[in-house]
Symmetry: C2
Subunit: 339 residues, 2 copies
Amino acid sequence: MSREFSVAVVGATGAVGRQIIKLIEERNFPVGDMKLLASERSEGKKVEFAGKRLIVEKLDENSFQGIQIAFFCAGGRLSEEYAPIAAQAGAVCVDKSSVFRMDPDIPLVIPEVNPEALGEFKNTGIVASPNCSTTPMVLALAPMHKQVRVRRVVVSTYQSVSGAGAPAMEELARQTTAIFNGKSYENKVFNHQIAFNCIPHIDQFMANSYTREEMKMVHETRKIMNEPNMLISPTAVRVPVFSCHCESVNVEFEGKMTPDMARDILSNAPGVAVVDDPINNKYPMNITATDSDETFVGRIRVDETVENGLNFWCVTDNLRKGAATNALQIAELLVEKHL
Amino acid sequence: MSREFSVAVVGATGAVGRQIIKLIEERNFPVGDMKLLASERSEGKKVEFAGKRLIVEKLDENSFQGIQIAFFCAGGRLSEEYAPIAAQAGAVCVDKSSVFRMDPDIPLVIPEVNPEALGEFKNTGIVASPNCSTTPMVLALAPMHKQVRVRRVVVSTYQSVSGAGAPAMEELARQTTAIFNGKSYENKVFNHQIAFNCIPHIDQFMANSYTREEMKMVHETRKIMNEPNMLISPTAVRVPVFSCHCESVNVEFEGKMTPDMARDILSNAPGVAVVDDPINNKYPMNITATDSDETFVGRIRVDETVENGLNFWCVTDNLRKGAATNALQIAELLVEKHL
């Protein structure tokens, strides 16, 4: 007899929450009771799940009684307040926010890369899922790094607006339409116009002039790959696309890594799909990865300017593998191995 | 008494041609006769210039009689065929195409960077203007390189569709509108959908798996900066914006170059404007540079992963300084110093 789990989704009406609900159904996650939670603003909204319309409840201290697995995708403030309460009530929390990721007691997990870290969830009852700009790069780097160590990475991102949530997607759509109609549309989510504009600023600026988004790529990658000194030089940029994050990645290895070796390793790596046939115009793009769970890698080529250098380009659906899919895979692994 | 010059613009109805005509008027270039030329397809079209409507004539072998300065911005094939004919007829040709750029007898000029090369126009009567992805990076690198040598550059571009001409701009507009209306719009200019999609492919692929666009950035930069061995590792990407090319640039210098030194040098560099106040959300974007002639530089910060490393972000209106403005500045310098 298969077991079923009581599940809660915190932030059920957000861009990532909606994806998690969709994926729980798509991937036949063994869910028994399903509870949708959100802040007061979304209380009473209805969300489709498995042919039923569930009503979103207001999150409070008593929301987690009887819950076994709680997905947190409502932003850092709510995670910080309620994940410890949920854990205390006996739920395992899979958290999509950044607040717990660098906590040494809390595992930060990409199931294809560091499943062994997951057991540490017992420390606190919380598992963190990485930032959507970290996951694609790590999925591509980790299998190569296992064969030949990575020395240094220079990465520039091309990130979609869905990473900033559903209101950001609406802002891109409305602002684009307004421009075509000769009207203006005031930006509320972004600091500047996003329609037909690239913004080299995601999350807050830090004292070192990097953004928090950029530093997440550094610190999270090091933690997941268990390489506290890996050299990573990031630039994170928002571009006017709805879905998927693209990344232009320059890697220096400590030994020989040819494009053929890389393609061979990545073709056999879990969660990675190689699309690399430029002569036939095949390389990954946003339209390649949208609604998929893989990280697509292409444009793999020698960087002649450094010893053992490679350039590549990778694309991931940031709402799926960049967020919801990874969280759900963490839950699947918990169910399979630990609960 | 001020001199006036007979000018021809080849490709007068294209995206760059229109900009050149606009700039000749804006910048009071000393034009006497003005002849607009194009292929048969555009013959008879009318173009506004200085309050008059000029009729576009069909380009042929006799088009250049009496012309002193000819701007070529109609693509490589027409430049290759007609620039030598125009030069033979006595015109100095300023060519925006790529066909002559790497010819050792022909100067490739950014007036702020290597004006001294311009005199070589006497060899053939032709001066080449660089690719729109080369110019911004070189404008930022050259003044720093004069103080502290650049060792290696890793650059990823975010290039607008206007670099692919007026039909590409129409394709982005129509395809975006079609998507909002739930319709499809077949791509003709690009190999793939450009609306809400990033395409890591500009110009043809070469044997080394880089695109021609990427290799232009390598070879042209070396020629303009007179550094035949400079190490440059490029990735060129088309993003769904109408105007301006953005570039994420990682530089390794041979000696110390702090962000403050860089800001100081760039603030005093001709053709460059520093916009670098991240705490107040100030950094260059497409909307910063559109319709301007400067290259805007910001996000200047230390790259801690390498000795003497810097990251920066630059943005240029690819139709203006990336194309038309640079061509016109070449002509201005010719008029001032050589004709």
